[in-house]
């Protein structure tokens, strides 16, 4: 009996050994001698149409504001907005946050060119976005920029923004886009008059660009942070804190309405 077991184990082991040797040979053949045959390009990427009409699909794009940097709960305005919307509607809400910290308008434009991002946007019912904060403030350095440099940054930003809106509308012509404007994080500093003017002009030009497209709504936040700015800013004096994000989220949520049947 014992002899039998040992014999079987020995034979099984030997066969397994041959199999693993084959695997090793295959590894060497594949990694060192295989003909290079890269897979075909992205041509066959699935282009499915939106089929699920029961839920609401929200896609968030942009920079650290949309990401929620500074909110210790990590929700950001997108999270608070969804909290509000869940009280308004019984429909299931699904969110995909594609925002990247530190992203500028050029980066976002590039991101929109990716096939998967395009697919996500196509499926979206609502798109929320922030962009431009890093174009203008460049990590809090805007205060030191000369007016001429700011004009330059603004011109290239507006060009990018226009192409961003154009791309979004080409991919998805129905979804409502909420473009969230900038506030002035430096409004309690000495040169507040100057910086506020710059931000106001920046916002105005952005809103003008948004107005050229249907269903792209520029949502102001400048007023939300105008008084007591430090109560709403995170310790980096740049990003909003929890309270600040809550206010932005509530404002965007107040703009979203649902058709009669969906209301709670």
């Amino acid at each position: 009996m014992r002899r039998g077991i040992v014999g079987i184990i020995t034979i099984v082991s030997a066969l397994a050994g041959i199999l693993w040797l084959g695997g090793l040979a295959m590894a060497i053949q594949d990694q060192f001698f295989a003909a290079k045959a890269p897979p075909a390009g992205t041509a066959k990427y699935p282009k499915e149409e939106k089929t699920d009409n029961r839920g609401i699909y929200i896609v968030a794009l942009g920079d650290s504001l949309t990401r929620g940097t500074g909110d210790e709960s990590g929700k950001g305005y997108v999270g608070y907005m969804v909290d509000q919307l869940r009280q308004k509607t019984a429909k299931p809400i699904r969110v995909t946050n594609l925002a990247i910290k530190g992203q500028r308008s050029a980066g976002l434009l590039q991101q929109l060119g990716q096939a998967e991002i395009e697919r996500q946007l196509k499926l979206a019912d609502i798109i929320v976005m922030t962009i431009g904060g890093n174009d203008l403030f460049q990590g809090g350095e805007a205060l030191k920029l000369a007016p001429k440099q700011i004009e330059q940054a603004k011109a290239s930003y507006l060009r990018n923004l226009d192409r961003i809106f154009q791309t979004i509308r080409r991919i998805n012509k129905d979804a409502v886009v909420f473009y969230i404007g900038l506030y002035n994080p430096f409004s309690d500093l000495g040169d507040a008059k100057q910086t506020s003017a710059i931000v106001r002009q920046w916002n105005f030009a952005s809103a003008e660009t948004a107005a050229r497209y249907s269903n792209i709504i520029a949502v102001p936040t400048f007023d939300l942070f105008a008084l007591h700015v430090n109560d709403y800013l995170y310790s980096d004096h740049f990003h909003p804190n929890k309270e600040g994000y809550k206010r932005i989220g509530e404002r965007v949520a107040s703009l979203i309405t649902f058709t009669e049947g969906d209301e709670k």
Partner: protein
């Protein structure tokens, strides 16, 4: 010779180690299956979808955000950067690198077991192969037989190779059978990408080609077998050199664990790449993960391991045939 090998196999089987190893593997696989299952569930809940493209996209975005934070170590940044580009490549070619299924689990299990868990299992068998005969005194009985010493050691070594093959078979079968209960047994034909090469922080996709998962898994098992043999041979040498099995285990354990730690911090110490323990993760070259030190390749690591293994084997044979036994 056949009888000698059979005799050694009998000794290994009689010690019941192989069954203990099978039991350890079964428990661990069950544990990891559950952990993986939980992770999949959690991710699905967080994103509200089971669509793998959305999930992969979210992972890419998360990695991009992590890359943009300032407090991130250079090694971690490089690792993230490479993985990010790879995920992007998978996504662009519409291939799901982690489609649920027992073969996928098997592949990930091997990739994670190759540098520590698998060598440890091999060590359990190899550590006392010779040393126990020396400390127990049975070595004298063995050597009084009219067979050359070299032949005796060779029979032991062949038995070790057989045991290693058996252990790997146990790992493969158990990880497939147990994880399949949860994830299903399908997915052998799924396409996967291999052939990524890494230049600094960039991923070179020139040599990338598709492999069906069954082939991919078999390749990884072949490499895992290679690593297990080298680890087994080193343990075997120590077992010849030392009478105490505990000492053999201690040294191997220290070497393996130091390898796992070193891999995370040697990027600036270039000559560390000639140590065997930082070269154990051969499967990383197949999947395209950044190696611990720039310039390490599959060929390089296999050569380093082969040199260490052959040296150990030579030392074991020379010492065993020349040594006085009393």
């Amino acid at each position: 010779m056949n009888n000698l090998v059979y005799n050694e196999m009998l000794k290994i089987v009689r010690k019941k180690r192989l069954f203990v190893i099978a039991a350890i593997v079964a428990v661990l696989v069950a544990l990891f299956t559950y952990a993986q299952f939980k992770q999949v569930k959690e991710l699905q809940e967080r994103l509200g979808t089971s669509d793998w493209r959305t999930q992969l996209q979210q992972q890419i975005i998360d990695a991009q955000n992590r890359l943009n934070s300032s407090s991130i170590s250079e090694e971690w940044r490089k690792y993230l950067q490479i993985r990010l580009q790879q995920q992007q490549y998978y996504l662009e070619h519409d291939i799901n690198p982690s489609a649920p299924g027992a073969p996928t689990f098997m592949r990930m299990f091997i990739e994670n077991a190759i540098d520590l868990f698998l060598p440890l299992l091999v060590m359990v068998v190899a550590a006392d192969l010779v040393s126990s005969e020396a400390s127990g005194g049975t070595i004298k009985l063995l050597l009084t037989r009219p067979v050359k010493r070299g032949t005796i050691l060779l029979s032991k070594y062949i038995a070790l190779l057989l045991a290693i093959s058996f252990i790997l078979l146990t790992v493969a079968l158990l990880s497939y059978l147990i994880s399949g209960i949860v994830f299903g047994y399908h997915g052998w034909r799924l396409p996967l990408l291999t052939g990524f090469t890494i230049n600094g922080e960039d991923l070179n996709t020139e040599g990338v080609h598709l492999l069906p998962q069954w082939k991919y898994v078999l390749i990884e098992l072949g490499l895992a077998w290679y690593v297990a043999i080298v680890a087994g041979t080193l343990t075997f040498m120590l077992s010849v050199l030392m009478r105490s099995t505990a000492a053999v285990m201690g040294i191997m354990l220290a070497a393996l664990i130091s390898g796992a730690i070193l891999s995370n911090m040697v990027s600036s110490w270039e000559s560390a790449k000639y140590l065997f323990m930082v070269n154990l993760r051969l499967t990383d070259y197949i999947s395209g993960t950044a190696p611990p030190i720039d310039g390490m390749t599959l060929g390089f690591s296999m050569t380093v391991l082969a040199v260490w293994g052959l040296l150990a084997l030579a030392i074991a044979f020379i010492v065993f045939t020349k040594r006085d036994v009393y």
